[in-house]
Amino acid sequence: VIPRSFEYFDPSSVEETLELLHKHGSDAKVLAGGQSLIPIMKLRLASPSYIVDLNRIPGLDYILEDRGKMLIGALVRHRQIVNSELIKKKIPIMTETAELIGDSQVRNLGTLVGSLVHCDPGGDWGSTMIALRATIKVAGQNGARVIKIDDFFEGTFQSAIGSDELVTEVEVPIPKEREGGAYMKFERKAGDFASVGVACQLSFDRSGICTYAGIGLTAAAPTNIRAKKAEDALLGKKISGDDSSRAAKEASEIATPVSDPIRGSAEYKKAMVELFTRRAIDIAATRGQWRE
């Protein structure tokens, strides 16, 4: 790795970090796991003048359950999520997602927050966070704020946070009982970016009616997106094969994927969004024990 030269800071608190970000603005980049930042610096696609490394800040690597929510700190690695019994028990779709990210080395170092902030439409976490309706906690010198996941991805590699702000935590509502989720990643090979990916989270009432539906799509648009009409096609239904097909069709219709010679044409990717949405719904419904 031979990047251009940069100045390196390793602050020991969030406050100190915010001061540095305030001072250096968009010339500074925050380093957490480095699994996106370092490759683009290596290729000299980005050459930030200042690197602000969060890794010396204590207490940012927590996974905590708090009043129906799971709180995930900014330095929680994918590996921690894979290994967390708490997450596996309460939000299994997150375990499934984390296991499919990159390769072992990426999972050991990369962070959930870093992945979200990077805003790569091929990122896996974005879809799962959309399906779970997570919120993002942001700190800044003028105080903290909370951003809904639907407002977080503004464009490819462009998040809703300012250059002097720092994401400190992600808050994930824990699905209610009789829930089922699935993350399906259609990839050319293990560790590749998704050709397309679909996260689907469902909940059911006692009679098997779908009371919650969250569907997020990976690599299907300039950002991770919610398939709202697909969710609507499931809500209030006992999900039949026809319902999942109709929802899958809706998901495919809002998809505007980019053609690429390696992972497929836009036409193919749209067809795969439909196929894997249908499959993800069917698996999620089966896991929620309501599949007719």
């Binding site: 031979i2 251009r4 030269s5 290729l43 000299r44 390769d103 259609f186 050319r188 090979k189 293990a190 560790g191 590749d192 970016f193 050709s195 010679p261 390696i262 497929g264 044409s265 193919y268 067809a271 795969m272 196929l275």
Partner: protein
């Protein structure tokens, strides 16, 4: 004791490499070393208008910079590799024009790699873009822009291969068909990319050059030509090499420049290429198109093949890479007794990276063609795919067998090998398994591919020859040093050589040291390519060891007061056959020879022997039909792939991959299995994942591992590897090669399996790579042509 031959002895260099204690070129450092880097062309075809590196030179820590005009004045052009293809002068840096994206234009030297990388960004080059030639078929049209105007057209290599009477074959045929076959461009990606370091010592006028190469001596000879510097003053050292696959055969454009700058600046100079540079500037392979016509009888016997092949060779560069298409043509009949062949071959120059040797060396393309023919004949005639192959095989009693194209196959038993593979796959029961899976909505497919793997090539008037050398020395302590002209790029042939030498002399393998890849120590040899190290190199080691043994026995006979022919040597002890109790050691004998030679009557002094082995089954003078034989050994094997396809996405999974391989005598089973396993994974990479894709402007779209996908252990299928032994009559132990076969049959085995699995959808595949979208498209295409339509 039991011989070492045939035992799965661990690779002798494993402990060093596993602990990370190996020495690769990038590990070599000198205190005053300079780092060289290259500014490469962003254009596929352009005139160089102006080069300005003043800003780079002004940077602290930058020592020098050179452009192509400057370098041309200080070097000879790279020499003709062999006379069979057209030639044009090539230098390390582009002189007036750039011809491909990634061509080196300016070299910069700096004290450290960081300064260097910044300085490379400072260099300003003005280009005037020229029309780009990116499609080899359009390149053949009369109005095409030309890469080399003095050639008059874009044809780099044109030849015809003929055998038998092709017109008569078509007259007699019951079945005739045409097909167009397209193999995509891809290449190897060794873990260690290319790396070189040069150190010129001005006082002694010697140049030492460390190279991640497969051929130390050949590198030395070619450097001497390009530098116009005495070969005797050059020493080339090949340290540990992290994979070669043919791509590390000499000589690349950058190499002479690295040496030249060390000589000019009187400082050591090093270059390690980046992965991105590897993709654009280390050679490419494959990209062949075949327009074939086939004649067959109604019993499935193929009578003749006509083929017009067009190969995208990229830009011209003097290497043996272009010969790959010659090999494809010569072996288009594979293991089959197809006597009538007529091939018209065009190797075309385009604005892409030059063609270079890559594992398979054209044999994988021949396999793609001949196995496609076998499957299509079976389909057209409603015959079993295995049965069609049995009917076409060269029979086991026909060896040595001379093909219609003038190649002499040494030995083989193809029916026995295929039968063993079919048994391992439980072939007779597969149809039942398949229909039961179908009831559960699963689509299984079985594919067959038979691989012919000509090995140890020898091309007339080139550094690709059928000889190699071994020097064996026994020191006064009785230890054995083996110096060979062959080398290992990590494949482990030194272990096989140690096994053979230990057996031949009669010593413990721990007392044998094999040294390779140093021109100051080893006899002149041709290194490692074409699976030759264990064929040619090991054979020379066997003969050298026999000479050493004879000398030891002669001296020991005197010491033991016995007749030489009654002596036996086992694990370092010499004794009269049947009386092992009364023995002396090889150390005793060696000490006697070195310290007390006057007491041994008629002593042939010294325990130091060199043997050059020249493989006899090569024919370089053309026969009556003008054909030559460039390969002496013909290992072969059967591949069977068992897959499950998802017809809705076009994706598929390999459930099992079976290889039965015949490389003659197996020196070390685990080394052979390692070669096959690695080869299959590499072949799988080429069949499905790896693709060098260019756009119409000649830009390479897949220049990093983000887009050039390499299979990992996750994609690696469970494999069953079995051996079958048909000895080679031309080598002392009966061994053939085994380095390439694994990589050669995967595409055709998978196509065969996909067509079988998707039989209901009437899927026909004549093209690679086997990407999910491509298969998905074929399913819908098949549905329109009478196949199922329910996807």
């Amino acid at each position: 004791m039991a011989p070492y031959l045939g035992q799965s002895i661990n690779k002798l260099d494993d402990p060093v490499l596993v602990r990370g204690e190996g020495t690769f070129v990038d590990d070599i450092k000198f205190p005053n070393m300079l780092y060289v880097g290259f500014v490469r062309s962003p254009y596929a075809h352009a005139e160089i208008i102006n080069v300005d590196y003043r800003e780079a030179l002004a940077r602290t820590g930058v020592l020098a910079a050179f452009n192509g005009q400057e370098v041309k004045k200080m070097l000879k052009p790279y020499p003709v590799f062999h006379g069979l293809v057209r030639y044009t002068e090539c230098y390390p840096l582009a002189v007036e024009r750039v011809n491909f994206v990634g061509e080196p234009v300016v070299a910069v030297l700096a004290d450290d790699p960081y300064t260097l990388a910044d300085a490379l960004d400072d260099v300003q080059i003005d280009y005037k873009p020229l029309p780009v030639v990116s499609d080899p078929e359009k390149a053949l049209q009369e109005d095409s822009p030309l890469l080399y105007p003095d050639w008059g057209n874009n044809i780099m290599f044109k030849f015809r291969v003929k055998g038998g009477d092709i017109d008569l074959a078509f007259e007699k045929a019951d079945l005739k068909f045409k097909d167009t076959i397209e193999i995509h461009r891809y290449t190897g990606a060794p873990m260690e990319p290319r790396a070189y370091a040069a150190n010129y010592e001005h006082g002694a006028k010697t140049l030492t050059y460390w190279a991640s190469t497969q051929q130390a001596h050949v590198t030395r000879s070619m450097l001497a030509d390009a530098l116009d510097f005495p070969e005797k003053n050059i020493r080339v050292i090949q340290p540990n090499v992290g994979g070669g696959f043919g791509l590390k055969t000499p000589i690349y454009p950058e190499e002479a420049l690295i040496c030249l700058t060390s000589m000019k600046l009187r400082r050591p100079v090093k270059w390690t290429e980046t992965r991105r540079e590897h993709m654009v500037a280390t050679g490419h392979a494959r990209e062949q198109k075949h327009y074939i016509e086939v004649a067959a009888r109604k019993d499935g016997v193929v009578l003749g093949i006509r083929d017009k092949m067009i190969v995208d060779l990229g830009v011209f560069y003097p290497s043996h890479g272009q010969m790959q298409m010659f090999v494809t043509a010569k072996y288009i009949v594979g293991p089959y007794a197809i006597r009538n062949v007529d091939i018209d071959a065009y190797g075309v120059a385009t604005n892409k990276t030059y063609y270079y040797a890559y594992r398979g060396f054209g044999k994988e393309a021949a396999n793609f063609v001949y196995e496609g023919i076998m499957d299509r004949v079976a389909r057209e005639l409603g015959l079993d795919r295995a049965e069609v192959r049995f009917r076409n095989f060269i029979p086991p009693d026909a060896f040595p067998y001379k093909t219609g194209t003038g190649c002499t196959y040494d030995s083989g038993n193809y029916p026995a090998v295929l039968k063993k593979a079919l048994d391992a796959a439980d072939y007779p029961n597969f149809a039942k398994m398949k229909s039961e899976a179908r009831k559960q909505g699963r689509y299984l497919g079985l594919g067959i591919s038979y691989v012919l793997e000509p090995s140890a090539s020898a091309i007339p008037n080139s550094y690709t020859q059928g000889y190699d050398a071994t020097t064996i020395r026994v020191d006064p302590a009785g230890n054995v040093t083996v110096l060979t002209g062959v080398s290992s790029a990590g494949s482990g042939n030194e272990t096989g050589i140690a096994q053979a030498v230990a057996d031949e002399i009669g010593v413990n393998i721990d007392d044998v040291t094999v040294t390779q890849g140093d021109t100051a120590i080893c006899p002149y040899g041709l290194g490692n390519y074409s699976s030759r190290s264990s064929v040619i190199g090991l054979s020379s080691a066997v003969f050298a060891a026999r000479k050493i043994r004879a000398k030891i026995v002669k001296a020991a006979a005197h010491m033991l007061e016995a007749r030489a022919e009654d002596l036996e040597i086992d694990r370092g002890r010499v004794f009269v056959r049947g009386s092992p109790a009364k023995s002396i050691t090889i150390r005793d004998v060696a000490r006697k020879i070195y310290r007390d030679p006057y007491t041994i009557p008629n002593l042939d002094m010294g325990l130091d022997e060199t043997y050059y082995f020249l493989e006899p089954n090569i024919q370089h003078s053309p026969d009556e039909e003008g054909n030559i034989n460039t390969y002496p050994n013909y290992p072969n094997g059967a591949n069977i792939a068992l897959i499950e396809v998802d017809p809705k996405s076009g994706d598929f999974k390999i459930l099992k991959y079976i290889v039965v391989h015949d490389c003659g005598t197996v020196i070390n089973p685990s080394l052979v299995e390692g070669q096959i396993m690695g080869g299959v994974i590499q072949g799988l990479g080429g069949a499905v994942y790896e693709e060098l894709l260019y756009d119409e402007n000649g830009q390479l779209l897949t220049s990093s591992f983000m887009d050039y996908l390499i299979p990992s252990i996750v994609e690696t299928p469970p494999m069953t590897i079995l051996h079958h032994v048909t000895k080679c009559p031309f080598t002392p132990l009966g061994q053939k090669g085994c380095g390439e076969g694994g990589a050669e049959g995967v595409s055709s085995a998978l196509i065969s399996a996909l067509e079988d699995g998707l039989h209901d959808y009437n899927v026909r595949i004549r093209k690679s790579p086997l990407k999910p979208e491509f298969i998905w498209g074929k399913i819908s295409e098949g549905s329109h042509n009478g196949g199922r339509t329910d996807t």
